[in-house]
Symmetry: C2
C-alpha cells in the first residue's frame, strides 16, 4: 500500500515544521514481531549450532521485523548521500576548503568516489542530493544555522528519499565543516566535555583542533539555553544534510524500511530523534564506528553496537554501504542453508 | 614461476617430518615492500582525506605486498575447509555426536552449509578436504593424537592446497571436538589458566563444560613435558584438520599467497608457527573474533586485531569468507576511485 506523503506530513501543521515533526514522532510504527519469531524459528532448523552465526542471525531478524516480511528481502537497497555547506566552515574548522563539497558532489555523480565503488561492489543504488550548496547555513557561532522553513525543506528532502518499496536504506553525508556541526550537536544533546566530542574530522590538528573545540564550546551554550528541544538544536547547529538525514530516518520508520546509518555526522543527525523518543532509532543500525572520538561516545549514549570497526572516517555513506555486505551474507545463509532434517545431520545430543 | 612442490618439501628429510617443517620455517619469504609503497602512494592521490578508508587501505597494502603485485588482484579467491575426527570426542566434550563431522562434509558437498552461501555471495571457490574421517586421532588424554607420519600426511594435504596462482586463501575447519583440541593446544603453547582457554564450543555448559576444562588441564601437562617444541605440541594435541591448516599457512607463505584465518580452532592451528618464529603469520589476517573465550586471548598473544567481531562461532571458514567482502570493497576503492587531480577536487589547505 502506498502511503501518500501528504498524509504523512500532517499538512494542517505545515506552518510549524518542528511541531509537525514532533507529531510524526509521537506515532511511530513498530516492527512485526511475528516475522522476527519466524526468522528465529527458521534459524534454529539450519545446519549449525544454535546462534553460531551470531549477529548475522540478529540482522536477519531485524530486517524481517521492520520489513514485516519473512523471509526478508534485499532486492532494492539504496544509498542516499546528502551534501550541504556550513557557514562556520569559513572559520577554518576543516583541513579542506568549502568548495570541496560541490567538487565531491561532482565526483559522486561521475562515479569516482569511494561510495561509488562500494555501491557497485554490494549492489546498492546510489543517489546524491545536493542541498543548496551555494547557500551555506548561517554560522552557528552567530545565529541559528537554519530557519524553521529552511530546516523543514531539508528534512522533507530526506523524508522523500524513504521511498515505498525499498528493502534497506543506507544514509550518508558530505559537507566540509560538518564534523564540527556534529560535535556541537552531540555536546548540546548530551553534555560532557566539548573536547571529548570534537575530533580531527578530515584531519585538523594542533592549534586548529583547539580552535575547533573552543568554537564548539562557546557557541553551543547559547543555543542550548534558547532551544525548544533536541529537534530545535538540530535546526540551530546542524546543516541541511543533517536535517535531511533526520528526515530520511523518520520517513524510513514510517514506511518500515530498515536503515543503516554511517559514521559520526550521520549518527549525530539521527540522535535528536532518540533524545525525543528513546525507541525512535530501533529501525536503524550503526554500520561502523569511526575513529572520530565522539562517535564511540554517541554509540554508547544510543546503546548501539556498531557492525564494523574499520577505522574509517570518510562519511559519504561508505561505512553503511560496506555493511551491506554483512546483510547480504546474513540473508544468503538464512535463505540458502539446509536444515538438519533436510541434510540428514544429527542434532544436539540431549 | 611455478615452484615444484618437491623442491619445497626438502625430500631428503622426508623421514623426520617435524625437522623438515622446521627447515621450511627457517627460510620464509618476505613481502615486497615496493608494492606496499606503491599502494600507499596511490591511496594518497585518491579523492578522500588521507587514511580515511582506515583498515581498508591497510588491507590493500597487505594484499599487494604478499602478492608482490601492484595493484593487487582478487580474481582467484579460494576457501579450503579441512575436516577430521578426534579420539577425545568420545569423552563427550561436544554437544554433537562425532558422526556430525562426516554429515557436515556431505552438507558442504551438497551446498547446504553456511560457508557455501557465503562463498557464493563473495565469489569464493570452495573445496572441502575430508581427512580420514573413519580414523579419528588417538585420544590425547592417553597418547599423542598423531604419529609423525600421520601428522606429516595431514600437513601435506594443507600444503598442497596453497596452489600457485591463488590471490587469497581462506582457511577453515570442521571436526566435532576440535575446540577442545584448540584449547589444549593454546594452553600448552601459552600457559595461563586452562579454563580461560576452554569455552562452550558448539554449546556445552555446566558440568559438561567443567569436564571439558578438567580434560584440557590434565592432559596437557604430560604433552608439554614430553614435546620437542610447539610443532610437536600441534602433533600431540591437534587433529588432522589442525595439521592441514598449519600446512596450508606454510604453503601459502612459500607461494606468497595472503591468508585469511577463521576462528578459534583455525587460529590455534596456526599459532605454533608463530611460537617457533614470531613473523611466521605476517601473511595472515584473522578474519573475525569468536565469542569462544580463548580466541580473544589468542589474538592478543599473536598481536592481531580481527577484521570482524560478529559473535560468530561456526568455524567452517565462515568468518574468513565473510571478510572477503571487506577485501573486495578495499580493492574496488583502490582500483576505481578518482584522483584529486583527475576529478578536479581541491586538496588539503596547507
Amino acid at each position: 500500500m502506498r502511503i501518500p506523503l501528504a498524509d504523512i506530513l500532517h499538512p494542517d501543521l505545515s506552518g510549524d515544521r518542528l511541531a509537525e515533526i514532533r507529531l510524526l514522532l509521537a506515532d511511530l510504527p513498530e516492527p512485526d514481531n511475528d516475522c522476527v519469531v519466524r526468522t528465529r524459528a527458521r534459524e534454529c532448523t539450519l545446519t549449525k549450532p544454535d546462534r553460531a552465526l551470531g549477529r548475522l542471525e540478529d540482522l536477519t531478524g531485524w530486517l524481517a521485523g521492520w520489513q514485516r516480511r519473512h523471509p526478508p528481502r534485499l532486492a532494492r537497497v539504496a544509498a542516499r548521500v546528502f551534501a550541504a555547506n556550513h557557514g562556520m566552515a569559513a572559520r577554518g574548522v576543516s583541513a579542506y576548503p568549502a568548495e570541496v563539497t560541490a567538487q565531491m558532489v561532482e565526483n559522486f555523480r561521475a562515479g569516482g568516489a569511494a561510495v561509488n565503488q562500494l555501491c557497485e561492489t554490494f549492489g546498492v543504488d546510489l543517489r546524491v542530493l545536493a542541498l543548496d550548496l551555494d547557500r551555506p547555513t548561517r554560522d552557528f557561532t552567530l545565529d541559528a544555522a537554519l530557519s524553521q522553513a529552511e530546516f523543514g525543506e531539508a528534512f522533507d528532502v530526506g523524508l522523500q528519499q524513504a521511498e515505498e518499496g525499498l528493502d534497506l536504506l543506507c544514509l550518508g553525508e558530505m559537507g566540509i565543516g560538518n564534523t564540527t556541526a556534529a560535535a556541537a550537536l552531540a555536546y548540546a544533546l548530551y553534555g560532557g566535555r566539548p573536547s571529548a566530542w570534537t575530533g580531527p574530522g578530515t584531519g585538523v590538528a594542533g592549534e586548529r583542533l583547539s580552535a575547533k573545540r573552543a568554537l564548539v564550546q562557546t557557541s553551543v551554550e547559547r543555543h542550548v539555553r534558547e532551544a525548544e528541544d533536541a529537534l530545535d538544536l538540530l535546526r540551530r547547529l546542524g546543516g541541511r544534510e543533517l536535517a535531511a538525514i533526520a528526515g530520511a530516518v523518520v520517513g524510513a520508520r514510517l514506511r518500515r524500511i530498515p536503515v543503516l546509518l554511517d559514521g559520526f555526522v550521520c549518527t549525530a543527525a539521527a540522535a535528536p530523534l532518540a533524545v525525543i523518543r528513546s525507541d525512535a532509532l530501533d529501525h536503524c543500525r550503526i554500520a561502523h564506528v569511526s575513529p572520530e572520538p565522539g562517535h564511540r561516545l554517541l554509540l554508547r549514549r544510543l546503546g548501539q553496537r556498531p557492525l564494523l570497526d574499520m577505522d574509517m572516517r570518510l562519511g559519504e555513506a561508505s561505512g553503511a554501504v560496506l555493511a551491506v555486505g554483512l546483510l547480504r551474507a546474513a540473508l544468503a545463509c538464512h535463505l540458502g542453508m539446509a536444515t538438519f532434517t533436510g541434510a540428514g545431520v544429527s542434532t544436539r545430543e540431549q
